[in-house]
Amino acid sequence: MSADKKIYGLVAEFNDSDLLIKAAEQTQEAGYTKTDAYTPFPVHGLTEALGIKRTILPWIVLTGGILGCLGGFYLQYWVSVEAYPLNVGGRPFNSWPSFIPVTFECTILGAALSAIIGMLSLNGLPQPYHSIFNTPNFERASNDGFFLCIEEQDPKFDKKQTRRLLEDLGAVSVSEVES
């Protein structure tokens, strides 16, 4: 093995989600921080086991919704009162009851767009290349495999010790993944 080959991390493959959760818990206990797991579906308890913080996504969505709401109402107010006031059946220019449906739709639109854009950008997607795809058997991560990765960047990362830890946790295989 040449020394100049950069390593992304050590990846352990598990056959079962419970083993993965246990492994994640123990790596966290062992003090590893730069870890991640890869599963074909959301596994309950994994988020806590890896010590992942709750996402700020709900706040982004709330902000998007509020902006949509205010923007939607102001648009209608500005159009109907300032820019192009029309008398429609004697109703007031600022017919706020009539503005509520569009305000509502704009709220939802703002919130939904922030939800998808927020989720994707927090996740850093789209991302065509990622080192983890170099893992042998990684196509199983979208089918029936459960993977745990300890990254090389982790301050506690040590090729031998980390490998031993992962093997002890019941991994089917542990592989070094190139960056």
Binding site: Y38, F41, A112, N123, S142
Partner: protein, 465 residues
């Protein structure tokens, strides 16, 4: 076996959620096999062929309309809204089931929804696309459709926000956008599965591009689940608002038969009703042709039938309510409208509507009817027809007898009206066939979650919350 059957009958359930014997692996195989199989089954080609012919009818009707103008339709004054709005409301109503299944049932943690949600969501997208065609073509000059949106035009003109038709523009375009977002969000992990399973290079690349590099990271899943839940939470009021806005197109006017306060929820119930009918109409054949009976189980079918019954009853309640208030209001135009609806030139359509939407679906009270896919299939088609008639009756009976008898006129769709309507059905079926062929029609990862939870439960390793 008989023991579990007995339990089902006590609990009023129809069989298990998923057939036993499904594993995490087999679900992936089963669902993607529809896409990766070498040859589609014969019925797929037959439907595609028919749909293509109907698409021809759509093209012809649209071209003729653009050449000649809306005069080729059966419209007149006072019947300025004919097939165009009937079909618009019909299609958009059908679309609502998709969102309902994917969002509301998700919030209510109804697991049976999982096997049909992707399919129903696709249905939503295509139905909304069909719906959108009608108001656009009804504009007369569809090429300037962008006048509908508020933008700083050189003419200095802005939309009139006190009109429900402008609300519609916002409601429908928001609905389409959010439905696409919701649908695509749900698809991302399955696209990754397809990417990793595809055997040919092109398939791998295409799925890979749309999967956006999804790698199933735990951090990603966490944000993904939050985003999905939020989108479900947003879609639920959205779907209600869309059909409510559609109903307001009618209700904020002062036309007898239209101006009534029950319209918003009554329209929403009708939309869900017709939407579930359409899901059943499509799902019943699809699950048997593609061998998906073990995933889209009888329990799912039975539950859909029950929701159809419930919403059908709400719609029927709406009819009774309308009749009572036509009399109770003491408004002679209202009572004339109702009497004319029941006995006038469109009486046949009215009573057909009551039969299709109100009477026949009462058969769904019986378990035997719900358990028989053929009877269910027939009822679902009858409900689809009934819901079309309902909109026809609402639109035409109120318009054709205006306040002043001198402006009375009857309405009937012309061949171009029918050609366009049938053409959109062709478009819908065509799009559905392409969807079945190219996209996993059942959410693989969500089914896996259910199976996973189930196996863990039987192993007794489930954790207490």
């Amino acid at each position: 076996m008989s023991d579990s059957k007995d339990k089902d009958s006590i609990l009023g359930q129809a069989g298990p959620l998923l057939d036993s014997g499904q594993t995490i692996q087999s679900v992936g195989d089963k669902v993607t096999s529809v896409i990766f199989r070498k040859k589609q089954p014969i019925p797929w080609f037959v439907v595609l062929g028919i749909a293509s012919m109907l698409l021809g009818s759509l093209t012809l009707s649209v071209v003729w309309l653009l050449m000649k103008g809306t005069g080729v339709w059966g419209l007149n004054i006072p019947n300025a809204w004919g097939f165009a709005i009937v079909n618009f409301v019909w299609w958009i109503g059908i679309g609502h089931a998709g969102t309902l299944i994917s969002a509301i049932l998700f919030l209510f943690k109804q697991q049976w929804r999982t096997s049909i949600n992707r399919f129903a969501e696709a249905m939503t997208l295509f139905a909304v696309a069909c719906a959108g065609m009608f108001p656009l073509l009804h504009l007369g000059r569809p090429w300037v459709f962008y006048w509908l949106f508020p933008y700083p035009s050189t003419m200095g003109v802005w939309p009139q926000f006190r009109s429900p038709l402008v609300w519609d523009v916002f409601a429908v375009s928001t609905y389409l956008t959010v439905s696409v977002i919701f649908w695509y969000t749900g698809l991302i992990p399955d696209l990754a599965t397809m990417r990793d399973r595809a055997k040919n290079k092109v398939g791998k690349i295409v799925a890979g591009i749309f999967a956006m590099g999804w790698r199933g990271s735990a951090r990603h899943w966490h944000r993904y689940e939050v985003a999905y839940l939020l989108l479900a939470g947003l879609s639920t009021p959205l779907v209600v608002s869309v059909h409510s806005v559609v109903s307001l197109d009618f209700a904020v006017s002062i036309m007898p038969g239209w101006h009534t306060t029950i319209f918003p929820p009554y329209f929403v119930a009708g939309a869900i009703y017709s939407g579930f009918a359409m899901v059943l109409t499509l799902m019943i054949p699809v699950r048997s042709i593609y061998g998906l009976k073990s995933i889209v189980t009888m329990r799912t079918i039975d539950n859909m039938a029950k929701i159809m019954l419930a919403t059908g009853l709400m719609v029927f309640y709406g009819y009774l309510n309308e009749i009572f208030f036509a009399w109770y209001s003491g408004n002679k135009y209202e009572s004339f409208m109702m009497l004319n609806r029941m006995t006038g030139p469109y009486a046949l359509q009215y009573w057909m509507l009551i039969l299709c939407n109100g009477i026949i679906p009462q058969l769904l009270w019986f378990r035997k009817v719900r358990q028989n896919v053929i009877s269910l299939f027939i009822i679902s088609i009858i409900v689809n027809i009934g819901m079309w008639l309902e909109r026809y009756i609402i639109v035409v009976t109120s318009l054709h007898r205006d306040f002043i008898p001198s402006s009375w006129d009857n309405y009937a769709g012309t061949i171009w009206d029918w050609g366009l309507y049938i053409g959109t059905i062709g478009f819908f079926l065509f799009a559905m066939m392409l969807f079945i062929r190219w996209v996993p029609m059942i959410p693989i990862f969500e089914i896996r979650e259910i199976i996973h939870a189930k196996t863990k439960k039987t192993l007794g390793t489930e954790k207490k919350p």
